[in-house]
Symmetry: C2
């Protein structure tokens, strides 16, 4: 497929902010009739420009009001240890994101917890039982100023 044109980018912007817009509404925004917009959206989906559609759940409403970025250093750095760490970590419900990073630490986790007590339990009992972890460093979020979830194209 050739790259998306300006109309495609506009559709991605619109759907990236609100995927409940109907084909008809999208058509109005980009000054086209519904059919070509329908075809464009389907093509963007088929070609992987749109990964999926999700609902954003309000974690605070479910009493998950604490966000923590947890830096992790492994004991050793061979491939199998790293791979084992990732599989261990992905099963933990509190871990929303996991990145392999440059710098002093090896991984960065974004963790959602109910409160400090819950986070303490997470570090001691859940991370504590992952053998490959050497040390951790937690950075607590005091305020989420922005989260747009998508790049602003």
């Amino acid at each position: 497929m050739e790259g998306p044109d300006e109309t495609d980018l506009q559709l991605l912007r619109l759907l990236g902010a609100d995927s409940n817009l109907t084909i008809k509404e999208l058509a109005g925004r980009v000054n086209l009739s519904p059919s070509p917009v329908f075809e464009r959206v389907k093509r963007l989906e088929a070609n992987g420009y749109i990964k999926k559609y999700i609902a954003l759940i309000n974690a605070e409403k479910l009493n998950y009001g604490l966000i923590v970025f947890c830096n992790i250093r492994l004991k050793q750095h061979d491939k199998s240890i790293g791979h084992q760490f990732v599989t261990d970590i992905l099963h933990l419900a509190e871990v929303v994101e996991c990145y392999n990073i440059s710098g002093d630490y090896d991984f960065l986790l974004k963790v959602y917890a109910k409160d400090m007590k819950h986070y303490q339990d997470f570090v001691f009992n859940k991370l504590g039982s992952v053998k490959s972890i050497g040390s951790t460093h937690s950075t607590f979020v005091m305020c989420e100023n922005k989260n747009s979830y998508n790049i602003n194209i």
Copy 2:
């Protein structure tokens, strides 16, 4: 509203992973008929448990293959400086997330860039013109192992 029951949580889980599921499909998953499911979903939306519905855009496909966590320390820490910083930063297209954090730095940004050259330009020309910034420290993502976007309830 009273807290969501187990059926509501199941609906949140399902929609948090795929919001294209129809009411009928959801009904099948939770063993109910479409009508009560429709009402439950509308209530979860009205009461803020579902914030919004979005399409997840594939940033790599749009040549935004570099993710960087950028730690920022302000020059001073009074309220107006912090507020000005946030408004300045939210206008930058590359900044997807912004958190006010504990620890050595004041803010953590998640930044999407096309490549290292683009990121360098972002730091020098865009962050460089935000007067309230004292110093920065960049952590580069080598691999995104997980991003579920929602808490696993």
